[in-house]
Every structure is written in structure tokens, then in C-alpha cells.
């Protein structure tokens, strides 16, 4: 069955391809970010000026993470993306599986030019960021939430909560809400009892959760009052305060911080230009521009030293925000991600 069907399909398609011309060869360099105001910041800080100075046209796409998406693209034969901003465990998994191009570190200015956490064979740190509690100061007047236990406390703070529809972060926050100290979160999660405990804690808040899959939904969910507080990255809410006159507030207690990386997909047809763009985006003077568009931690050591300290407020680069913070354990998620995602998806769908 397969061969004749394929033959038919291919015959019909080649005829029409010949007529239309294949568009994938001609497409511009494509960079993929996380949408919303973060993507706006990247465009304003890097992409527009890169295209202007080099004459290389750029197009953008956005995504919501997950190495499965990259796998589908690379193994499935879809060559529409060149550069993607990925999370740590996706970087590790994808690098191991050969989904990403290895970077030329000499061309990036050497590994020492970046924070140690921002250096990987397949990726270079794009930004340092945190997941924190965000809420609308116009709705929660007086003292706001000060811990994940408060986030779980729907009596004191009635209303829906926004959470990312992934086990990553949700399980960690649940354990912290259940009283597990930050440094014990991953040791606890490495035991079956710890995972059960986290899911039990999530059960408590599930009826009050609106799950988001894209971080760019968060300012909107808060702004439209669908949720009273949400897991969020800080920068997007600060930008909404600046541009839309919102009064969003952040609570950094028990935040989880991590690095996002730029990678080049292994099947990118434009590797040379992609390398050029990554070099551009990680140069100190350019990274410093990003901080003025959206509060975010920088990965280039020199940029970090030279950037205006005021721009470090509301970022993980401000030591005051990092008291009691938890670093995302990417190795944990590399090892248990599949298993916990399966269980989490089944749990959400119930």
C-alpha cells in the first residue's frame, strides 16, 4: 500500500512543486523566541539592527518550548527554523541527540567571556531569568503573597492562579508550597514519595488553576483578571507596567532561576548566517541594549559588569532577589522529564 500511495503523492506533488517553486530554499534566516514582550525586546535590541547593518533579512517565529518540537522539526524533516531560544534541559537532550549544531566558541569570544552556566557545546546563554509570583497590585491591595504557600492559599487570596502547563516548575513550586525548603526540593523529587507528594499538593490547587502554555499569555491573563496571580517571568510584567500603565507586582520568594540558550538547529540551511547572528546577539555592547528593553539577566561577563545597575533590579542579577532562590536542576529534568511529563499531562487532562 505504502509504496504506490507514496508514488501517487509524490507524482502529484512534484508536478505542482515544479509549478510553484520550492520556497524553503529561499526563505530568510529564521529566529525563534518566546513571543510577547520578550520577543519585542529581542527584536528591538538585536534583530532590527542586525538586519540593517548586515543586510541579512530576518524572519521570526515563536514557540513554547519542548525538545519534542525540535525533534519533530529536525527528524521529521521540517527545515523552517535556524536559531531557537531553548531551555536548559532541552539544550542538553537536543545536543546529545544531535539536534543542534555545535557552536564555534572561539568565534563567540571564548568560553570565559560568559557566565559558566551560559556555556555549552551546543548553546550559548541568551539570558538569565526566573519564574516568580506575579500579581496585580490593583487587585491585591495590602500585603501580597510572600511565598508559594501564599500562592496556594485561595482563602486569603481568592481567585484563579495561572501556572505553566508543564511538570517542570509546577512540581518544584508545589513542594515549596508544602513546606519543603528550596535546597531539599530536588532531593525530594528524586524519590517516588516526593513526586506523589508534589502531585497531591497540586491536587489542592488544581480547581483554581488556569494553565497557560505560552509565557506571553501571562500579562494578558492578569490584565484581563482571568487570574489573580500567576507564575511568571518578571520582565514581561515590568514591561506591561511601563507600556500599559499596569500595576503588576512581583514576589521573588522561592523563585527558580535558569538560563535560556541560543542554539542552531542541525538541519538549518543557513548555518553561517545563524552563527553570525548569534555572535551579534552575545556581544557585550549588544546584550547591554537588551537589558534596557526588558529586565533580564545578561550572560556576557563584560555586559554584566558594564550595564547600568538600575537595569539589574527585577532580574536574577540583583543579589537581593536571589535569597532563598532555587536553581533549576536541568539534569533532574533530563532524567525524569519524559516520565513526569507523561504523568503530568494525564493528571491535567483528568
Amino acid at each position: 500500500m505504502k509504496s504506490w500511495a507514496r508514488l501517487l503523492g509524490i507524482a502529484a506533488l512534484t508536478a505542482s512543486v515544479a509549478a510553484c517553486g520550492s520556497s524553503s530554499e529561499l526563505r530568510p534566516l529564521t529566529v525563534v523566541g518566546w513571543g510577547g514582550s520578550s520577543q519585542d525586546a529581542h527584536r528591538n535590541a538585536y534583530w532590527t539592527s542586525f538586519s540593517r547593518t548586515t543586510g541579512i533579512p530576518l524572519r521570526e517565529d515563536s514557540w513554547r518550548g519542548g525538545v519534542g518540537v525540535i525533534r519533530t522539526k529536525v527528524v521529521g524533516g521540517d527545515t523552517s527554523w535556524d536559531i531557537v531560544q531553548v531551555e536548559t534541559e532541552d539544550l542538553i537532550l537536543g545536543c546529545e541527540e544531535g539536534l543542534f549544531q555545535r557552536l564555534d566558541w572561539a568565534g563567540l569570544g571564548g568560553r570565559n567571556a560568559f557566565l559558566p552556566a551560559a556555556v555549552h557545546d551546543c548553546g550559548v546563554g541568551a539570558m538569565l531569568w526566573s519564574y516568580v509570583i506575579g500579581y496585580d497590585g490593583d487587585r491585591i491591595k495590602g500585603p501580597g503573597p510572600k511565598s508559594w504557600a501564599d500562592f496556594w492559599d485561595v482563602k486569603r487570596f481568592p481567585g484563579k492562579r495561572g501556572m505553566r502547563k508543564t511538570p517542570k516548575y509546577s512540581l518544584e513550586f508545589a513542594l515549596m508550597a508544602d513546606g519543603v525548603p528550596a535546597d531539599q526540593v530536588y532531593p525530594t523529587l528524586r524519590t517516588p514519595q516526593g513526586v506523589d507528594r508534589a502531585f497531591r499538593k497540586l491536587d489542592e490547587i488544581k480547581p483554581n488553576v488556569i494553565w497557560w502554555s505560552s509565557i506571553s499569555q501571562v500579562p494578558d491573563l492578569l490584565g484581563s483578571r482571568e487570574v489573580v496571580m500567576s507564575v511568571t517571568s518578571p520582565g514581561r510584567l515590568i514591561v506591561a507596567n511601563r507600556t500599559e500603565g499596569r500595576n503588576f507586582k512581583l514576589d521573588w520568594h522561592g523563585n527558580i532561576f535558569a538560563v535560556d540558550y541560543w542554539v542552531i538547529l542541525a538541519n538549518s540551511p543557513r548555518k553561517a548566517e545563524a552563527t553570525q547572528l548569534i555572535r551579534y546577539m552575545t556581544r557585550a555592547e549588544n546584550q547591554m541594549r537588551l537589558a534596557s528593553h526588558i529586565p533580564t539577566g545578561l550572560t556576557n561577563v563584560e555586559a554584566n559588569q558594564r550595564v547600568d545597575p538600575k537595569l539589574k533590579l527585577d532580574t536574577p542579577s540583583d543579589p537581593a532577589n536571589m535569597v532563598g532562590a532555587l536553581e533549576l536542576d536541568a539534569n533532574f529534568w533530563v532524567e525524569y522529564g519524559d516520565q513526569l511529563t507523561q504523568r503530568f499531562n494525564a493528571w491535567v487532562a483528568r
Binding site: 506533488l13 520556497s23 524553503s24 513571543g35 527545515t79 494578558d220
Partner: protein, 278 residues
């Protein structure tokens, strides 16, 4: 008849009318409600109080994402129409000459794209195109949309053929005209309104199609429905209401016109479904 009516009957009739009015309101008000929402000058999804503004329409016109999406949708819908209309018209004519079991089977095949869930069609195309490197090209989308649009063309043209005065064709044949001549010179002009209606249905099928586009369109082929889907999902603003308003007006005008053409062609009530998938 009213002589037979008792009081309880009149009460029943009034209840029926009252209930139907509520259902009509349920059907139409949500669609109409987005129009004033789109004219609101603020970023909130409320009816404008006093001042109305075209701010959100300007936003659509000035945003490259929306204009690009509109251009893509237009391009793909036109290509779909150009493929689906001749294919469907020829097949409808062929079907009209057929009786027998074969016809039932062929009709089943042609209408299958309407019955199979769109998501199944979408991943079927995705799996076919991805290894061939055809996802993220307009071509894949055009082929897929044509398959989804063709049944409407066949249904509409076939209906037009049934309303046809066959005497004209017979007359042409008896005067010695060859089949091809009859088809081109007599039949096609006679069913032209039906073909035009079919073309509009094909156009709207593609222009409105969301699910397949979500799966196989790349960033370069973002269509209007994709842009709208993402908008609703990520940043719901009055811009969505403005885009919805424009699409409502476009589909009402086009499909209303098609409906008139179609009725002229066959003179019956009822309507062909322009959009079955969501």
C-alpha cells in the same frame, strides 16, 4: 385554520415564538456583539461608551503580521479556488451523466473530506509533507485546502445541473453538435451561476480554514485564521474583535452572494455548508 385555535394552542404558539426568539438571539447576538467591541478606543474588551474609534482597524492595517497574514490567506484561497473549481465542476458534470452504484461510491469518496475530522486530515498532510520538506510552503496548504474545498464545488455544481433544462442540450445534440462543443458552449454557460457559487464556497473554505493551516503552515505562511487563533490564545484584545468583524462582513457578503447565485441556479431552499471544521 385560526378557527380551530384554542387558547392553549395560542399560548403554545406564543411560547414557541418566544423560545425561538431567544435561540435566534443566541445565534446572532454573539456575532453582532463583536462589531461594537471592535470600535472601542481602549484596550479593554467592553462596549465603547460615547466615543468610538477605528483604532483597532488601524492597528490591523499597520501591523505587518496582520497584513502579511491577510496576503497569505488571499493568495492561498485564490490558488485553492483555481484548483478546486475546475476539478469540481468537471467531476460534477461527469457525475450528472452517471447512474448506478459507481456513482454512490464516487460521491462517498468526494464527500469524504467533509466527514473525516479536520485534525486527522491535518496530520495526514503533515506526515506526508514533512519528510518531503513541503511543510512551511504554500503549496502544501493549497493542495490540502483544495481537497477540503472540492466537495462544496461538486455539491453546488451538481445541484445546479439537476435544475438544468435538459431540452437545450438535447436540442444541441440533435443539431449535430459534438459533445465537447455542447459542454463548452451550452452546458457551462447554463450552469455558470452554480460554478461561480461553488468557486465562492471554495474560496471561503480556504480563507477560513484553521486546523490544517495550524499544522502545516510555517512562519512564512501564517494565514489570517492562524493569526487570529494565536491572538485569541495569547493576547486577546479588541484587535481580535476588529479582525472578526472584517471576516464576518466578508463571509456574509461573499456567501450571501453565492447563496443567491446558487438559488438562481437551482431554485431550492437550503444551503451548502461553507465551513464544517473547527
Amino acid at each position: 385554520m385560526s378557527a380551530y385555535r384554542s387558547r392553549s394552542e395560542r399560548a403554545g404558539r406564543a411560547a414557541l415564538i418566544g423560545f425561538s426568539v431567544l435561540v435566534f438571539a443566541f445565534l446572532v447576538l454573539p456575532i453582532l456583539a463583536v462589531i461594537p467591541l471592535s470600535l472601542n478606543p481602549t484596550t479593554f474588551l467592553v462596549f465603547p461608551e460615547g466615543e468610538i474609534s477605528l483604532r483597532w482597524y488601524r492597528h490591523l492595517a499597520e501591523s505587518p503580521q496582520w497584513t502579511h497574514a491577510f496576503g497569505n490567506s488571499l493568495k492561498i484561497a485564490i490558488a485553492t479556488t483555481l484548483i478546486a473549481t475546475p476539478l469540481g465542476t468537471l467531476a460534477a458534470i461527469g457525475l450528472a451523466y452517471m447512474r448506478s452504484r459507481a456513482k454512490t461510491a464516487i460521491v462517498a469518496l468526494i464527500t469524504a473530506p467533509l466527514v473525516v475530522p479536520v485534525v486527522v486530515v491535518a496530520i495526514a498532510f503533515y506526515f506526508l509533507f514533512a519528510p518531503l520538506g513541503l511543510v512551511n510552503g504554500s503549496l502544501g496548504l493549497i493542495v490540502a485546502h483544495s481537497a477540503l474545498a472540492v466537495p462544496f464545488v461538486v455539491i453546488v455544481v451538481h445541484a445546479a445541473l439537476r435544475g438544468l433544462d435538459t431540452e437545450l442540450l438535447r436540442a444541441a445534440a440533435s443539431l449535430g453538435a459534438r459533445p465537447l462543443t455542447i459542454l463548452i458552449r451550452v452546458l457551462v454557460p447554463l450552469i455558470a451561476p452554480g460554478v461561480a457559487a461553488g468557486a465562492v464556497f471554495a474560496f471561503m473554505t480556504s480563507f477560513d480554514e484553521t486546523t490544517v493551516a495550524l499544522f502545516i503552515a510555517g512562519p512564512e505562511q501564517r494565514t489570517l485564521p492562524i493569526q487570529m487563533f494565536e491572538g485569541v490564545r495569547e493576547q486577546i484584545s479588541p484587535a481580535i474583535a476588529a479582525a472578526a468583524t472584517l471576516l464576518i462582513i466578508a463571509s456574509t457578503l461573499l456567501l450571501g452572494a453565492a447563496e443567491l447565485l446558487r438559488r438562481r441556479g437551482e431554485g431550492r431552499a437550503g444551503s451548502a455548508p461553507p465551513d464544517v471544521g473547527a
